[in-house]
């Protein structure tokens, strides 16, 4: 079997060292977007232009970055992974992260 080159070994070693060994997962449905900020430079407005296959103009639509395109884009299901070293530290970190997000209650369909 071929040996691994040195640079791969170094990279793996570095990854092992930097990766935290203990982790906690926080999951649920949370609302995203409350801490995103859109900056609109100048007075120009964003516009989306629709064109056909040949590149001819069909229509133009105004798009505002301040409002979400769909409501679904503002809910997040991905778990939050929190690295920690001690139990007390984990508790503090989890409390901090949980407070940061808005958690949504809903009724499950199935």
């Amino acid at each position: 079997m071929a040996r691994k080159p040195q640079w791969i070994k170094d990279k793996l070693k570095k990854l092992k060292e930097t990766k935290p060994k203990r982790r906690l997962k926080v999951y649920g449905t949370r609302r995203i977007g409350h801490r995103e900020h859109w900056v609109v430079r100048g007075k120009g407005t964003y516009k989306t232009v629709r064109r056909d296959k040949k590149g001819h103009f069909i229509s133009v639509k105004k798009w505002s970055p301040k409002q979400p395109i769909k409501e679904q884009t503002f809910t997040e299901l991905k778990p939050l992974v929190i690295p920690y070293t001690t139990g007390r530290e984990a508790l503090e970190k989890v409390r901090e992260t949980v407070r940061e997000w808005e958690w949504i209650d809903f009724e499950a369909e199935s």
Binding site: G28, G87, V94, E107
Partner: protein, 137 residues
């Protein structure tokens, strides 16, 4: 008679999970205490896992944490040999970590420690540290 417990989604708030890729943990659903204990005992003997912790997560559902640290390769081997936890194992493998819930789900069913057997100085120690810290959750 209700044979199978239905899966309950997280519909209220959030849930905290203990993640590991260093040792074997199992989620045993729809199982009586005696069978869960038998399974934990057998695995502990078969793979020399040093000790185990049996936790009741809800009615007829149990969690098992084994003490010994193992490589990811060995962990996958052990977990996929267990028919009882196969579905759970497939989902866990996708993320590359094994996770067990340590907090309440939808405001109820806080996992309770039922049985502690053998050594508890490695993975069980890690689990208990977090479990104690999150007693209120």
């Amino acid at each position: 008679m209700k044979l199978k417990a239905e899966h309950e989604w997280v519909t209220r708030g959030y849930v905290i999970g203990f993640m590991t890729n260093k040792g074997v943990i199992l989620d045993l659903d729809n199982m009586k205490f005696k069978k869960a204990r038998w399974l934990a005992r057998t695995l502990c003997k078969q793979y020399k896992l040093e000790g185990y912790l049996l936790i009741k997560s809800s009615e007829k559902n149990y969690h098992v944490v084994f003490n010994r640290y193992l490589s990811w390769r060995t962990i996958t081997k052990i977990i996929f040999r267990q028919y009882e936890a196969l579905r759970w194992a497939v989902f866990q493998m996708q993320s590359g970590y094994l996770t067990l819930r340590i907090s309440m789900k939808n405001g109820e069913n806080k996992p309770k420690i039922v049985l502690k057997v053998g050594k508890a100085d490695k993975l069980i120690k890690d689990y208990l540290e977090v479990y104690e810290a999150f007693k209120e959750f």
